[in-house]
Each structure stands twice: as C-alpha cells, then as structure tokens.
Symmetry: C2
C-alpha cells in the first residue's frame, strides 16, 4: 500500500516534515492549486493559516482528505458547510499558543495599569512627568472564552493577584455561563476576549456591551477581529466610555484610512500574541506527532467540534 | 506631660494625621526651616522623600528627635554620619511599595519580551509589521537586592514561570551572595536591580558588569540612580552589548541635553514603580499606626540598619 499523501497548504517558511520521509508522500499547494490537488490528499495540513482557500476549495467535486489539521487555534477560516457535514476530522494546534497569548495579555494589562504607553510617549517628547498608576493585584477581570487560551489567561492573571471570572458558552463548575457576562463586565476593571469566532459570538462586543462597562475599564481582545465591532469600540474610546483597549488583530493590515490607527488609548498589534520565536518548529513537531498516531490508527487529539468552532473541553456538557 | 512633637518635613499633599489629634503636637518644616525646628521635635516624619534636608540639618547643635520615619523605602537621602552615630531610631515605609514596584518590573519585563515599545512605535507610524517575540516562561532572571522589594519581584516573576535567582549581600538559605552575581548575570535573560544605594553598591552596574551579559539580555533598575553608571549603560545599549534596559529613576528630571533621552531600547520613567494612586493614604496610615505603638512604648517595626542602609530581614546573619 502506498504511503498516505499529505497535502500542505503552504506558507513561507514551510513546515519541517523530514521526520516523515518514507512514511508519507508530502505535496504542496497554494490557494490557486488547492482545489485540483485536494482529491489526491489523505491528509491536509493547513500551514497558511491566514488563507481561506480551504473554505473556497472544499465544496468542489471528488474525494476529500479524511483529516484536516490547521496550524492555528481558530478554525473559522477553513470551515464551510460541506466540510462540517463531511466525515472528515478537523484538528487544531491546541497547546502551542495558549501560554504565549496569555503572557501577551498579561503584558498588555500591566502596561495599561502602569501607563507604559504614556511613559514611552513622554520620553519621546523628552518630558518628565510622574503620574500615579494602578495596582493590578486586587483588580477584577472577566475573561470571555473558556477554551485553553481563556483558561491560561485566567491562570496567569490570577497569579498576579487579579480576581478573575471566566465566562464560557454554558455554566459549568468554576466557569460562568454567558448569561452572567453583562453583570460581571459591569464590575470589571479588565474585559479580556479570548472567545472563538462563531455565529453566536460575531460582533458580540458592540456599543451595547461597551455601554455596560465602567469608565475606568479596559478591553483587550486576542480573538478574531469580527468578534469586536470596531467602529463601536472606537466610539466608546473617543467618548471616554472606557479607559483603554487593545486589539491583537489576526486579520490583515488595517487600511491606511482606517479610523483605528489613531483612536485614543487603543493599542493595535498585528497578531503578536501567539507569535513567539520557535512556534513554527513547535507547530511542525505537533503535526508530525499527530500524523504518527494517525498513521497507525490511533486516536487524534485536538479534534475540533465543527458546530461549536473549537475543541470541547472534557467538562463541556454535550 | 505635654504630647510629643511630631515635626513633618512636608510635601504637597501633606500626610493625614488627624487621627493623632490630642495625642501629638504636629508641626511642619521645609528644607529651609528644618534645622531650627529640629531641636524641639520628638519625632521627625520625612514626608518629602525627595529632599536631602535631613542630612544637611542633622549635624547642627541641640537635641535631636528620638525617632525618624521616612515615607520611602530608601534611606540614603537622609542618613549622615552624625545620625548614624546617634541613638535615634530610623524606620522606613517597608510594606507599602513592594507589590507596586514588583508589578511595575513584571510589566517592563513583559513589555520587552513582547516588544510592546516596537508595537506602539509602529502604530504611531501607521505601519503593520509582525515580529516574532519571546516566551517569558522558562527565561532566566537575576534579581539583585534581597530586601522586601527584591523578594516581591522574585515572587511575581516566579509566578510567570521565570527561573529567578535572588542575590543579596551575603548568601543565606535560598539567596545567593554577591560573589555569585557575575556568574548568574552571564546566563540571565533579565537582570533586575532592586538593591539599596550604599557605599558598596554605588556604581556597581558599570561597563565591566554590562560586558558580562548576553547580547539578548535586558537590564531593569528600580533602585536609586547612582547604582547605575548611566554613561556605561548608554554605551552598552548603543554598542548592542545588551538588548534593552529600563531605568525607573527616583531622581529629578534628566537635563534636556542628557544622552539618556534617546538611547536605543532604553525606557526612562520618572519613579513610576511605587507611584500607585492611594499610596499617600497608605503611607500616612502606616506612620499613624507606628506612632500609636511608639507613644505607648511599643517596639517599632521597619527599623533600618543605618550601617547597611536597609531593614535587615530576620534571616540576615548579624
């Protein structure tokens, strides 16, 4: 029997798959060639995680890979109705991004608490002005999204003395259901968005939501862009409804005329949260290990519940 | 017997001492009037902690207060040979600044690890450029200064997964002696200075020291300015000997022509570490509580060892 074909939706630099030599036939596609090569693939590795080529190519005719792995946490860019309805298993890169993203959030929260942006701007202007700052310990945070990223953020902030409420889709054990979100957000110093992008979460952070917050509150999102209604956030900041915000946008560059660039007290970053040096090696090694299990009929970890858009945790009710 | 006289070396806003009404006679002095009022004082409260008026006024003639309390952690600005030789007890504000300063250090360390200064500068220029960043967890820090501030920094960084070595004057239990500093610094990603300013520590961070560090290392000081030879630090940064530094200077504004203002990868801040809102209330309450103990002959906490320049911890060898 011939070795299985791994089709890689490629990005530069490519994954290191040398360990699979003699155990898989590795082929490559880009957004243009994916549709024609998909029927020959047993496994699809989505290495170019910024592309929506899978969602476009999948509905076409012919056989489809039995397994799709994406080197990202989110699956919103690749899943379409036809993939969701198919028997194909979809897995994600759970385990690689959680800690770096949580560190990034902790860094943003501390930067706001200590007004580091103000310090850097004053230094640029050669001005010397002391400002009183806040204590992080004892402040209150709401983390929205009870997946692995949200849990890791919760752990890190808790370690810094922050009183954290974690909000998931449904209440369970120490996790609040989304029905508690408004009440918790109204008393929070920090609202952190680490929710997956689904039909239910699209645009959930809007004028109505920002209107609930305290004027001293800050909003930090490490989720997909469409979770946040950007114009509403910009208006909330310009109107001083809230004291600050940070968006670590996984999407492409805001257009030059985007109102986001110079919204006061808004920190914009190009998907820096999970972007630690060495992550590509980790992502490649993760896929290779998963392939080795899959090739001998083993159970795959990190299987995404396509209907929900994320890997259900063990204590998620069915 | 008349109530004791508390002389306050004042700063704006003044301390809230209303709770002592009817139990003490509170008088005020500034740098100009301190010398003439000192002989009448039983207690001196150094509220203007940026002043060196005590060091100047103390050597004069006449009786001297039995107790001097400073609303700061460091005592370097007030101690002179005559005060050190006198039976007067000196206490400091141990307990108020440790956590805010440690949070400030954690914020700086995370900001460097995630290149937040780079993100803010790119946003200012409306440029969108992803950079890979570092993981804080698993990195190595050396904290110089094993007093309450250094210990609190150690605790917070440890909670973020950093492997921290704490260096004090002499080795004891889990604390390294200063003889280990060079070796530890040479392997560190972060060197944090939280040492008191004494004859032994003056200028200890100099060209020789910066030459020991890795090119990827960052240096963060929350100690007094003279601990660091600023020209040597500037040269080390300009020469790319180290990757970044932050000085939270308790001293006054750097002169407009100071080379510090635009040294690459240097963050300068005007003593922001301990400057949390509400600290003045805490400092006032701390003095009032200490006064209440002192007035009934109780033992004062936070007694500073003048020879060493700090409050010895219980496990400091004598």
């Amino acid at each position: 029997m011939a070795d299985p074909v791994i089709l890689v939706l490629d990005a530069d630099p490519p994954p290191r798959l040398g360990r699979l030599t003699g155990r898989a036939r590795v082929r490559y596609a880009d957004g243009r060639t994916l549709a024609e090569r998909l029927p020959d693939a047993d496994v699809l590795l989505v290495w170019d995680t910024a592309s929506d080529a899978v969602r476009r190519a999948w509905p076409g005719g012919g056989p489809r890979p039995r397994w799709v792995h994406t080197a990202s946490a989110g699956v919103d860019r690749l899943v379409c109705a036809e993939l969701a309805a198919s028997p194909t298993v979809v897995t994600n890169a759970r385990g690689v991004f959680e800690l770096p993203v949580a560190e990034y959030v902790a860094g943003l929260v501390l930067a706001f608490a200590k007004d580091l942006p103000g310090t850097l701007e004053l230094q640029r202007q050669r001005r010397w002005r002391h400002r009183d700052t806040g204590r992080l310990a004892g402040s209150r945070a709401v983390v929205v999204g009870a997946g692995p990223v949200g849990r890791e953020i919760t752990r890190l902030l808790h370690g810094l003395g922050v009183r954290v409420a974690l909000v998931g889709r449904t209440a369970r054990r120490s996790i609040h259901g989304v029905e508690d979100l408004d009440r918790l957000a109204a008393g929070a110093d920090w609202v952190i968005c680490a929710a997956p992008l689904t039909d239910g979460t699209h645009g959930m952070f809007d004028t109505r939501f920002f209107g609930l917050l305290q004027p001293s509150a800050r909003f930090v999102s490490v989720g997909r862009g469409p979770l946040v209604v950007e114009e509403d956030l910009a208006a909330a900041l310009r109107g001083r409804w809230i004291a600050g915000a940070a968006l670590d946008l996984p999407e492409g560059e805001p257009p030059p005329d985007s109102p986001l660039w110079d919204v006061p007290d808004l920190i914009l970053s190009p998907h820096m949260g999970g972007g630690t040096a060495g992550r590509r090696d980790r992502l490649g090694e993760q896929f290779v290990s998963m392939y080795e299990r899959w090739a001998v009929g083993g159970t795959l970890p990190n299987v995404v519940d396509i209907q929900r858009g994320y890997v259900p945790s063990r204590d998620t009710p069915g």
